[in-house]
């Protein structure tokens, strides 16, 4: 079997999950979210701080999650670019 055929086989279209179209339709038909006035967000943050809704532990968890995502992103970019450099080098080397 030819390589291109293998690739087409691997990349054959998949069926969208059941109910996909219904979920799209319910999203596009949903009424737009009511816009909050500009002062709403800071006031909400201040209020939640006042009642102690944001605990120190939660704050640390959020920071750790953000750091984790950034590390994954950094390593992904690194892996992507290392692979790109190697394929380019290989191509040039074999010319």
């Amino acid at each position: 079997m030819k390589f291109e055929d293998e690739l087409r086989g691997v990349l054959a279209r998949k069926r969208a999950p059941t109910g996909f179209a219904e979920r799209v339709m319910s999203r596009v038909e949903a009424p737009p979210a009511r816009r909050r006035p500009g002062w709403f967000a800071p006031l909400a943050v201040a209020a939640s701080l006042a009642v102690g809704a944001v605990s120190v532990g939660e704050f640390r968890r959020i920071r750790a999650e953000r750091a984790g995502r950034e590390l994954a992103m950094a390593l992904s970019i690194a892996a992507d670019k290392i692979r790109l450099a190697e394929t380019k080098a290989k191509e040039v080397w074999e010319r």
Partner: protein
């Protein structure tokens, strides 16, 4: 004496200094998208703990041992709407600095419109720092990973958290000028 001083400074240059060779803020202002990551040792510990928690749940090895030896991870990546928003000489200045400071190229390819390189600094036994340079017509990326880098451990991160396979091969550097 002056020559000696310059040589010493060059040899001592860390990649973080090298990152400062470019005016990233100015370049970012022209970019369509930008990614900027600054993770020092403290942030990396938190990141490792967070990712480690997910990994543990999935029954995979402890992330801390993989990331624990890293001291810093820094990324500057810009994507531009059109070509010509930066100069390849920008990336060459970083390359020159690394070469002058005796960094070893694992891969180094230079073309008229593109340029890619992977450079490492070792202590003779292990990799202590890694810099990835990637300049494409509309994309410019510099990655700097500081710390005790074990290629096989780094490779083990591939396939997790959306990270593609990492192939950090040692051995003789592939270095060639691509005339395109």
């Amino acid at each position: 004496m002056r020559f000696f001083l310059i040589l010493t400074l060059a040899a001592a240059a860390s990649a973080q200094d090298v990152l400062k060779l470019l005016d990233w803020e100015k370049l970012a202002a022209r970019a369509k998208e930008s990614a900027n990551v600054n993770l020092d040792g403290n942030m990396l510990s938190m990141a490792a703990a967070f990712l480690g928690g997910i990994e543990k749940q999935a029954g995979h090895p402890d992330m801390k041992s993989l990331v624990g030896k890293l001291k810093g991870v820094y990324v500057r990546s810009l994507e531009f709407e059109k070509e010509g928003e930066y100069s390849l000489s920008d990336i060459d200045s970083i390359r020159g600095k690394l070469t002058a400071a005796k960094w070893s190229p694992i891969v180094d390819v230079r073309g008229k419109r593109e340029s890619s390189g992977v450079f490492v600094r070792t202590d003779g036994k292990t990799i202590q720092e890694l810099v990835v340079l990637s300049a494409e017509p509309r994309e410019l990326t510099v990655v700097n990973i500081v710390g005790d880098i074990n290629p096989s451990e780094l490779q083990a991160l591939g396939g997790k958290f959306g990270i593609p396979d990492i192939h950090l091969q040692g051995g003789s550097p592939k270095q060639k000028k691509d005339d395109e």
